[in-house]
Symmetry: C2
Subunit: 462 residues, 2 copies
C-alpha cells in the first residue's frame, strides 16, 4: 500500500529541491488534478518542479523509501486521464525542464529536456530545415509524447514518437539514473530498453532528457480535399492511395457532420459528405503535381464528387487549423454537453467496417451526439460522443458505445487505443487486448517499480 | 548451472516432437555448430526441428525443468557467433516452420513462420506489389532477422526489422506461449513488449509466428554511381543527399580497394576511388530523374570526378550483386586468409572521422588486409579485416584493431554493433556501451528466463 504524505515528507521534499519549487497551494494542486479528459479531478498532495535529472532522482529515491505516489506531468493535455494523480502524493511537473539543450543539425538530432512543448521546439528548429514529425495537435510536451508514444496527422508517413527516440536519460523508481540508446541512426546492441520506456505512461521511470531524431522538411507541400458519396468510397480511396506508393504525409477522414461544423464555424463551403484531406510533401512542385494527379485518378475512380487539389498554403493552414479545432467546434455546437473521444485503430482493410459499425451504433443512441473523424491512413478512428453533463442515461449509452466500439476494434485485430494511451479510461480493455502478455507487463512494472509508486492506478485494471 | 543432456533427456525430447525430427547424428550436430563468423564451432547435443508453437513450447518447458540450454537456429548466417550453442544442449531449428501463413494485401501485412527465408518470402510476395524491406543480404530467415533486428542497404529509407514487426507469437522459457501486438498500424496500448523481443537474440523467448508490415514496391527505381577524390568528400555528399529530403533507398560507400575488387572480379571498369552507389525509388520516372539531378548537383559540388546516373536494371542488378558478393570476392582475393567483419555505426556527422580512423588504424598493421565499405546513409561501417589463419600476430593485430574501432565508435556516440548483433563477438563491449542500463537488461533476462536456458553465453560478458 502506498502512503499519504505527512508534514515531515513535505519538509524533506522541499529541502531536496527548493521551497519555491515545491507547492501545496490549493491553486497549484488544482492545476495538476486533471487532464483534458472527463475523468474526475483528483488533487496531488504536492507539486514539485525539478530542474535537473539529479533532482528528479532525489525525489524518486525519497518517494520510493516512503512509498509515496509520484506522477509525472507534462502539459496535462492527454485524453484518458493518464497523468491524474489518482492516489494523491507527488506530481512532478517538468515545466521548468523545458530547454532545448543542443541541436546537432548534421546528425538530424536534438537533445531536449522533457518539458519542451513540441510545437515550440519545431518553431525553434525551423531555420535548420529539420523537424520532429509526430504531431498530436495539442500543446503536448516531449516528455508527455514519449510517455504516451504520441502520434497524429503526419504519422501515416513519418511514424509515431517511438520512431524518433534515439536516446533517453531515465530516472528510475529507486532514484537510479540510467542512459539508454545511442546517437547512431541504427544499432543491434542489447535488449531494446528505449521502446520499453516509450509509451510506458510514466509507470517504469521518468524521462529527464531525450535525444530525438529529426526529419528533413520537404521543400514543397501540396494539399487536396476530396468529397465522396459514402464513407466506404472514401475509405477505399485511402487504401489505394497508400498502396500506390505515393507516401502521403496526411490522409484525414471527416464524416459529413464534421464537414458541416467546418462550414458553419469556419465558412469553408465544402460539400457536406465524407471528405478526405490529403497532404503531400516532396522536394519539387513538379513531383507533387504528378503525385496529386495519381491521387485524383484514385479518388475519381472511387466516385469522388469533388476533388480540389492545389490549395494554397493559407487555405491549407486554415483547413488544418479547423481540423485541429474540431473539439472546440463540437464544444461550440453543443455548449451544454460534455464529451469523450473514443480512439481506436484497426487494420486498414477493416477501416470501413469499423467506421460503419461505430457510426451506426452511435446513431442508435437517441441520447447522444457523435462526430466521426480520424487519421484514415493509419486506420485510426476518433468518435467524439457527448451528452448533457447530468444526463445519466446518456452517459450510460456512451459507456456502452465505448465498450462496443473498442470490443469491435479488438475483434477486427486492432487496438483499444490508437494514440491516446491507456491511462484510466482504457484499463478495463487491457486483458481482452493483451491476454497473457498483460501479466508480463505487470512483471516488468514490478521489476522497475517494486513499490508501485510511479503513476499508480493506471494501465492495469484494478 | 545448466545441465548436460542424459539418455532420458534424449528419449523425452524425441517423444515431445517425433523421433525423425530430433537428431544427435554427428553431421546434424556439426551443421548447427557454427555461423558465418570465425567463432569456434561448438556442437549442440541434439538438433530438434519443431513444426508448431506447441512443440517449441513443449521443448522449452522440458528444458526449463531440466535446466538444458536451448538455442534457436534460423539460417546460421550471422556474423558474431549469435546462434552457436556454446553450452551445448538443444538447438531448435526452425527449418520446418517455414511457411507463409497468410498474405493480407489490403493491410500490407503477412503472417509467417520464423523459418521463412526473407528473400524467398519477397519473391513470393512480388505479385502483390508489396515487399519486406530490411535486407541483410545473406540467406537469413525472418526469425533470425527478428532475433537480430537485422537491417541492410535499404534501411536508410525503409528502416530496420524492428520497424516492420506488428505482432509476435513467442514461446517463453517456461513453455508459456504469448501473443504480443496487434494488426493495427499504430497503437499506444500497454508496454512495448514487441520491441523487447526484436533484437533479443533468442535470449528472452523464441518467436514462433510473426505478422510483418510490408511496404509498397515503388514503380520506378534509379541508380547512380559517383566517384570521389576522398572518403571525406564522399561522406560529405552523403550528408547533403540525406539532408536534401530526397529520401534515397540506398547510399552505399565503397573504399577504393573494394572498387578494385569489383573491377578485377566483375569487370566493372569503375574509377578506383571512394565510390557511392545511390539507389532511389519513386512512383514515376520523371520524379526520379529530378531527384537524380539534385543528387548530381550535390555530388559535383563535393568534387565527384565521375557521376553515372541512369544505370539500367541489368547493370544495377549486377552492381548490387557485386556489392553483396564483397565477402566472397575478398575470399577469392585472399584464399589463404580468414577474416572478421568489424561492424559499427556512428552519428552521420562522425562518419568521416570514423572511417578515416578505422582505415588509418588498419593500414598501420602490416600483418593484415582490410576492406572498408558500409551503409553510409545510416553511418554504418563494415571493415573486413583478415590474415592467415595461423598468423597469431595478425590475429592479435585484428583483435586490437577491433577494440580500437569499437572504442572509437562508442566515443563518437555510436554503437558497438550496427547490424550484426552482439552474439559472442561484441559481448565485451556491452558495459562500455550501455553502462548501468546493462544491469537492467540482465534483470529482464532473469525475469523471462530465470534459469538462463535461452541462448546462454551471449550478449553479457561472463
Amino acid at each position: 500500500m502506498l502512503n499519504h504524505m505527512n508534514e515531515e515528507d513535505h519538509r524533506q521534499l522541499s529541502a531536496l529541491v527548493s521551497p519555491e519549487r515545491c507547492s501545496s497551494g490549493e491553486s497549484n494542486l488544482r492545476l495538476h488534478a486533471r487532464d483534458q479528459s472527463r475523468h474526475p479531478a483528483i488533487k496531488p498532495e504536492v507539486v514539485i518542479w525539478p530542474e535537473s535529472s539529479a533532482e528528479v532522482a532525489a525525489v524518486l529515491r525519497y518517494a520510493h523509501q516512503r512509498r509515496l505516489p509520484v506522477t509525472g506531468w507534462g502539459a496535462g493535455s492527454s485524453l484518458e486521464g493518464n497523468p491524474i494523480p489518482v492516489r494523491g502524493g507527488i506530481v512532478l511537473s517538468f515545466a521548468r525542464m523545458n530547454r532545448i539543450l543542443e541541436v546537432r543539425e548534421t546528425d538530424f538530432q536534438v537533445d531536449v529536456q522533457p518539458g519542451v512543448i513540441y510545437k515550440e521546439m519545431n518553431h525553434q528548429l525551423r531555420h535548420t530545415g529539420l523537424f520532429f514529425p509526430p504531431d498530436p495537435g495539442a500543446g503536448a510536451t516531449i516528455g508527455g509524447m514519449i510517455a504516451n508514444n504520441a502520434s497524429g496527422t503526419r504519422t501515416v508517413r513519418y511514424g509515431s514518437t517511438k520512431d524518433y527516440v534515439q536516446r533517453l536519460t531515465v530516472a528510475l523508481a529507486g532514484g537510479e539514473v540510467i542512459e539508454i540508446g545511442n546517437r547512431a541512426s541504427k544499432s543491434s546492441s542489447g535488449f531494446d530498453l528505449l521502446h520499453l520506456f516509450v509509451g510506458s505512461e510514466g509507470m517504469l521511470g521518468l524521462v529527464t532528457q531525450a535525444t530525438l531524431r529529426l526529419a528533413a522538411i520537404q521543400e514543397e507541400i501540396a494539399w487536396a480535399v476530396a468529397a465522396f458519396p459514402t464513407v466506404q468510397a472514401a475509405s477505399q480511396a485511402v487504401q489505394y492511395i497508400i498502396r500506390s506508393g505515393i507516401d502521403p504525409a496526411a490522409v484525414e477522414l471527416m464524416a459529413p457532420e464534421c464537414v458541416e461544423l467546418m462550414n458553419r464555424f469556419k465558412n469553408f463551403g465544402l460539400a457536406v459528405s465524407p471528405t478526405l484531406f490529403i497532404e503531400m510533401h516532396g522536394p519539387t512542385r513538379q513531383q507533387l503535381a504528378e503525385s496529386m494527379e495519381i491521387v485524383r485518378e484514385i479518388c475519381e475512380q472511387e466516385q469522388s464528387q469533388e476533388f480540389r487539389p492545389g490549395l494554397d498554403r493559407a487555405e491549407k493552414d486554415r483547413l488544418l487549423e479547423a481540423r485541429y479545432a474540431m473539439a472546440e467546434m463540437i464544444q461550440q455546437a453543443h455548449p451544454e454537453q460534455s464529451r469523450i473521444v473514443i480512439d481506436v485503430a484497426v487494420p486498414i482493410s477493416a477501416y470501413t467496417e469499423m467506421i460503419q459499425f461505430a457510426r451506426q451504433a452511435a446513431l442508435r443512441e437517441a441520447e447522444i451526439t457523435a462526430y466521426t473523424f480520424g487519421h484514415a491512413g493509419d486506420g485510426n478512428i476518433h468518435l467524439v460522443v457527448g451528452t448533457e453533463k447530468k444526463n445519466a442515461k446518456g452517459w450510460q449509452a456512451i459507456d456502452a458505445l465505448n465498450h462496443r466500439v473498442v470490443t469491435k476494434a479488438l475483434a477486427l485485430g486492432g487496438t483499444a487505443t490508437g494514440e491516446h494511451g491507456v491511462g484510466i479510461g482504457k484499463r478495463k480493455f487491457m486483458p481482452a487486448e493483451h491476454g497473457a502478455s498483460l501479466e508480463w507487463m505487470k512483471k516488468i512494472k514490478q521489476l522497475f517499480d517494486p513499490h508501485g509508486i510511479l503513476n499508480p492506478g493506471k494501465m492495469f485494471p484494478e
